[in-house]
């Protein structure tokens, strides 16, 4: 246990901050769907995985990286829309827990499909951006890019939700499901658009993750539980809350990981999450219970 307040500790803290950007982006799409449609996509991280494979193979086929990333975003946006239309729509009126479980079936399906199609090997793009060194601390450029893009994406989503007609309609639906259809807002269309946007955000996260992580069919299990935790911890539908929660959780992971072992960082984060929810079930920034 060599946990001192030295330069390595500071490096861990700053790397935790960079990780928070990615986790916040991952939580953003799920949070949007959770808030608007009131459905938890347990398979959200698996959609990210599909996006990563899409980008990987597109890039291998000779597509430039930026175009491949765009392809990945569109692919997962489409997947989100299809998921909503085919799987979520039929169970919208049944018990809320069934909606969560049905996407659990999708989780198994996507994981197995990816294993069969792409094998169990770890793959990566093999692109290295190098890293920047600051006073003995090193930060990889891919993490810094990820952080910047994640922040920009959150800003764009916020502008979209607060400034455009469609965005306002989406927020209105989230506030009152019964009234909005009477005001002439087509609920089914809003749900579909929201699912596609949520998928698109997962695709964007996938595009950033292929820069840093190996791709394998089980990668969803590594990130999925973290994403749910951040969503609930931040408070349903609160974009700021999602970011703060992502920051807290990733600092637990980064500092715990540097002081003890990686698993203990995660374990402490999960324990912290449970304790907070016991005290504030609506999450740190949630308005409604």
């Amino acid at each position: 246990m060599d946990c001192q307040l030295d330069i390595f500790f500071l490096e861990a803290v700053l790397n935790g901050l960079l990780l928070a950007g990615l986790l916040a982006l991952l939580a953003l799409g799920l949070n949007l769907i959770f808030g608007v449609i009131d459905v938890v996509w347990i398979c959200y991280a698996e959609l990210v995985m599909i996006g990563m494979y899409g980008i990987f193979y597109a890039h291998k086929a000779g597509v430039p990286l930026l175009l491949a990333a765009l392809f990945g975003i569109l692919l997962v946006a489409l997947a989100g829309a299809v998921l909503h239309q085919v799987v979520i729509r039929p169970v919208l009126d049944s018990a809320p827990i069934n909606q969560l479980l049905v996407t659990g079936g999708v989780l198994f399906f996507l994981q197995a499909a990816a294993t069969m199609a792409f094998g169990v090997d770890f793959r990566n793009l093999g692109i290295r951006f190098g890293s920047i060194t600051l006073a003995d601390m090193s930060f990889s450029y891919s993490r810094i890019i990820t952080f910047g893009v994640a922040l920009a994406a959150m800003l764009v989503l916020w502008l979209f939700l607060s400034r455009t007609y469609l965005g306002i309609a989406i927020r209105a639906i989230a506030q009152d499901r019964q009234i909005m259809p009477l005001m002439g807002v087509d609920q089914r269309r809003i749900y579909l658009v929201t699912s596609a946007i949520g998928g698109g955000l997962a695709g964007l996260a996938a595009a950033l993750m292929v820069l840093q992580y190996d791709i394998y069919p089980q990668i969803g299990l590594q990130f999925g539980p973290l994403i749910f935790m951040i969503c609930v911890l931040g408070g349903l539908g609160s974009l700021i809350g999602g970011f703060v929660a992502a920051f807290i959780i990733s600092e637990f992971i980064a500092i715990g990981g540097s002081c003890f072992a990686t698993e203990w960082g995660y374990a402490i984060a999960f324990l912290f999450f449970m304790v907070v929810i016991f005290i504030r079930p609506q999450g740190l920034f949630g308005g409604r219970s």
């Binding site: 069934n98 079936g105 197995a112 069969m116 094998g119 995660y266």
Partner: protein, 348 residues
Amino acid sequence: MRISRTAVIGLPILIALPLIVHLLFGGSEKYYLHLLIQILIWSFIYTGWSLMGRFGLTSLGHGAFTGIGAYVTVLLWNFAGLTPWLGVPAAIVIAVVVALLVGYPCFHMRITGHYFALLTLALTEFIRLCIVGLRDYTGGSLGTQPRRYGDGISLYAMQFEPNRVLSYYIVLALWLVGLYIWWRVDRSMDRFALDAASQDEEAAASVGINVTREKLKVTAISAAMCALGGAVYGQYQMYIGPDTIAGLSVSLNIVFACIAGGLWVMLGPTVGAVFTQVLSEVLRVTMQGSATLQALFGSAVLALDTLVYGLLLILFIIYMPKGILGTLLEKRAKKAAAAPARPEAISS
């Protein structure tokens, strides 16, 4: 009394089953007995989960309890030399304490639905990470084995794996105990209280039901059963790993098998276990026999059973939320109600 008639016919068949298997599949009876044992152990665990699940307490945390049951028992045996006769009760007590520690704030703060599911999911992950983190004792993600005692069959060490027939009767008894507990809960006043609470918590509380206490009771029983099931699983398999007996995929498997079989009927979880185990075995055997599939997908063909499994679960939840047995019983009841009374029914 349909249940009792089923029992009168079914129980002797189950007791004679090893003999039947021996007569039918002389050479490969070990394999079939293994399949039956697996089904019975998981049926017991699923039945334990359904005690909570049927009242809308959809826990994704039961992978934690099976994990605690298996790991505490094995670790006490391997490192403290403590016989499982004391180790299993210790494991059950720990699982129940964990369940109450998580359950009390949940029920007190009225955490239900999605939030309850996600919170219990965090519990599962926490326990799995603890298991992996304590790798000096637990073997980390590679798993570990209970130390073999003598020739592997011992009352003292609660080991019975080499004798499949003995193992079968042990888990059959376990399964019957599970059904008895389910039946007792089903007939108790608590069940009506919990039914009321799952419909409308405020209303139930207003007529004098202590909702938190009722939920805690059923949570404790459910966690204890899953811990016991996990411990027996470890003793039979003689191997435990964080992904085979703990973790999110175990939790999800438990929930899905219960839903596939039928949550609200006694034998629903059992039917779910039969269905899922037989399905994955049939798919596995067909795939290993098929040269075309092997050539197409190589070893990744093993994922096909998960693929079919996931697809079926989606279809079940959308089109048959009452599960296989629940739907069948409902159809039968409808038919019986619609059919005109037969003469012999009147005379008897």
